[in-house]
């Protein structure tokens, strides 16, 4: 240490500021990291947000409750279905709307398929960030596309589904759709095995990700981090188990946990979560036939006349375990067709707050994969 100081005293080194983004392929959107580097080591990192701000909450306060659904599709554009579900739960709580059995099953099927879509895609993107350009991402997208095809058959759109409504879903699924899902779900573990063969034991992946971006348990809980990022640290917190919303308590599934909370844990946790999702889907597909065929207890009332829906004065918070973490919708009603206050607790945004703590002391190339492992979507961060 002494020797180093003597040499640097004459060489006059200084810190270098690098602006990663907002137009950078690895930032998953328009996000900027102002990193201060000492050589290649990060000593300070400042996230700059807001490039994709679209005023979603304010718009939500000027339109009816139902008209907010297409906007929630565009929050986290990978998980349109689960975003719809979050808002639907909040509205149901606010207005005291009962949900039909079949609607519940269809919602769970959609939400778990969304989890498969998100985790598959994010694993591909993570590898893309590491420099495995193309191959894992395209394998992931090949599978994702199959699920998006099913979404298109059910809702009319691959990504901007706008399908779930308070009280159920907008339309019943077309005939034969459940059979297609069953086939896909039964085949999914094979794909996961293949994917794991490609990545899990790969020495290069291990070298790049193990002990990189470690997030301590205490910091994670204090920063209210949720989702796979929190569970990779070993904290057992899953809203599906804790809150038991919708009909999740009926299904037997485990909550996988990581050990030290590095990037590798987060990658592997997502693979395990997908395997659990497959289990939930298989149970739901088995049980859905026993539910009554009506998709919504009040017919299509919530679809046809949005302006007649005036929930009583009060407030409600509906939350779900979105693929990225706890997604919450907070609604305050003043008795008019529009919400008085409409707030979103988005997992991407909250999880991003620990970015600097994970990046300090790491190399600049690791900052990219740490950001990739948080799994952010800028549509949700900036709203």
């Amino acid at each position: 240490m002494e020797a180093m100081n003597s040499t640097t005293a004459s060489a006059q080194t200084q810190l270098l500021e690098v602006s990663l983004g907002p137009q950078h392929p690895s930032t998953h959107g328009v996000f900027r990291m102002n990193a201060t580097l000492d050589g290649e080591t990060i000593v300070k990192l400042k996230p700059v947000l807001g490039y994709l701000h679209r005023n979603h909450e304010q718009i939500g306060e000027s339109i009816t409750y139902i008209a907010s659904f297409p906007f929630t599709d565009r929050l986290d554009y990978f998980c349109a279905m689960s975003n719809n579900l979050g808002l639907a739960l909040a509205i149901e709580k606010l207005g005291g709307i009962p949900v039909s059995e079949r609607g519940e099953y269809l919602r769970v099927i959609m939400a778990e398929l969304t989890r498969l879509v998100n985790h598959t895609a994010i694993t591909g993107f993570l590898l893309n960030d590491m420099g495995a350009f193309g191959t894992p991402l395209l394998y992931a997208f090949r599978e994702r596309e199959k699920i998006l095809d099913l979404f298109e058959a059910a809702s009319g759109s691959r990504m901007m589904c706008n399908y779930i409504r308070p009280g159920g879903v907008r339309q019943d699924v077309p005939p034969g759709w459940l059979e297609q899902v069953r086939q896909l779900v039964d085949g999914y573990p094979t794909f996961l095995d293949e994917f794991e063969q490609l990545l899990t034991e790969n020495e290069i992946v291990k070298q790049r990700t193990q002990h990189v971006g470690v997030l301590p348990k205490e910091l994670a809980t204090n920063a209210s981090v949720t989702g796979p990022l929190l569970r990779a640290c070993g904290v057992n917190y899953d809203v599906r188990k804790v809150d038991g919303y919708s009909i999740y308590p009926r299904f037997a599934f485990k909550v996988p946990l990581g050990t030290i909370g590095d990037v590798y844990d987060r990658y592997y946790l997502r693979i395990l979560e997908m395997r659990e999702s497959v289990k939930i889907l298989q149970q739901a597909l088995k049980e859905i036939n026993t539910a009554s065929p009506s998709i919504s207890p009040k017919g299509q009332a919530m679809v046809k006349a949005p302006r007649t829906f005036r929930p009583p004065k009060g407030e409600a918070y509906g939350r779900i375990e979105a693929p990225k973490g706890e997604l919450g919708f907070f609604l305050v009603s003043d008795g008019t067709p529009q919400p008085y206050r409409y707030h979103i607790r988005s997992p991407s945004f909250v999880n991003l707050t620990v970015l600097e703590d994970m990046c300090l002391g790491q190399k600049v190339a690791d900052a990219i994969i740490i950001l990739g492992s948080i799994d952010i979507v800028l549509g949700e961060v900036d709203r």
Binding site: T135, E152, G156, L198, E201, P306, R307
Partner: protein
């Protein structure tokens, strides 16, 4: 440490197999080697080959008419304009004569202008859900680009009008349901015209 690199080689093997599966000769080779084969080709060459869309695929709304374009179902009630989340629908109407009385075609009022801005529309289908007359439906045409930023992107009533036969052709299930619903409504209204649904602005005023 003798096994270092095994994971990488395994992954490479998988990549090679997937590569071979995308070519006919590669599939032939795999068949000779006795491996299980699936068709690895999952993409289509877009402008030449088009993907088959599902029946519910929605892209942009259109106005339905029965028989002749003058006989459009829209009565210019402006519910869709009001409920459209991005506010891309602009309606002028209903059409009126000099005394301010609504003009009617086939017993229904009709809009003077009905414009939808393609560049703003986000294909959410809420206009279809809220329309009480089943006058607006979703089209599955998605190649709507134009050479001009304003006029070409603003679809007027003439451009939006499409026949019910077209609707039946692109979405047989949904059109069948709509036709049934309308027939039931007509059967209910025809025995005594005075008992038309109260929300119907086309109800005759003496």
């Amino acid at each position: 440490m003798a096994l270092v690199g095994k994971g990488v080689l395994q992954g490479m093997g998988l990549t090679l197999r997937t590569f071979l599966e995308t070519y006919p000769w590669g599939r032939g080779l795999l068949r000779v080697l006795g491996r299980s084969i699936k068709d690895g080709l999952v993409t289509v060459q877009y402008p030449d080959v088009k993907q088959q869309h599902h029946e519910r695929f929605r892209y942009f709304p259109f106005l339905v008419y029965d028989g002749a374009p003058e006989n459009l179902r829209c009565v210019s009630c402006k519910i869709c304009e009001q409920e459209c989340p991005p506010q891309c629908i602009h309606i002028v109407g209903p059409a009126k004569d000099e005394q301010g009385r609504p003009l009617k075609a086939n017993g229904r009022t009709y809009p003077v202008k009905f414009d939808i801005d393609v560049s703003i529309c986000m294909s959410c289908r809420i206009c279809v859900d809220v329309c009480p007359f089943d006058a607006i439906e979703m089209d599955n045409q998605y190649e709507l680009s134009g050479m001009d930023r304003f006029d070409a992107m603003n679809f007027t009533k003439e451009k939006l009008l499409k026949s019910n036969e077209y609707f039946q052709q692109i979405k047989p299930t949904e059109a069948g349901e709509v036709d049934q619903r309308l027939a039931a409504k007509a059967a209910k209204a025809s025995p005594k015209p005075a008992g038309a649904p109260p929300q119907n602005p086309a109800a005759p005023t003496p």
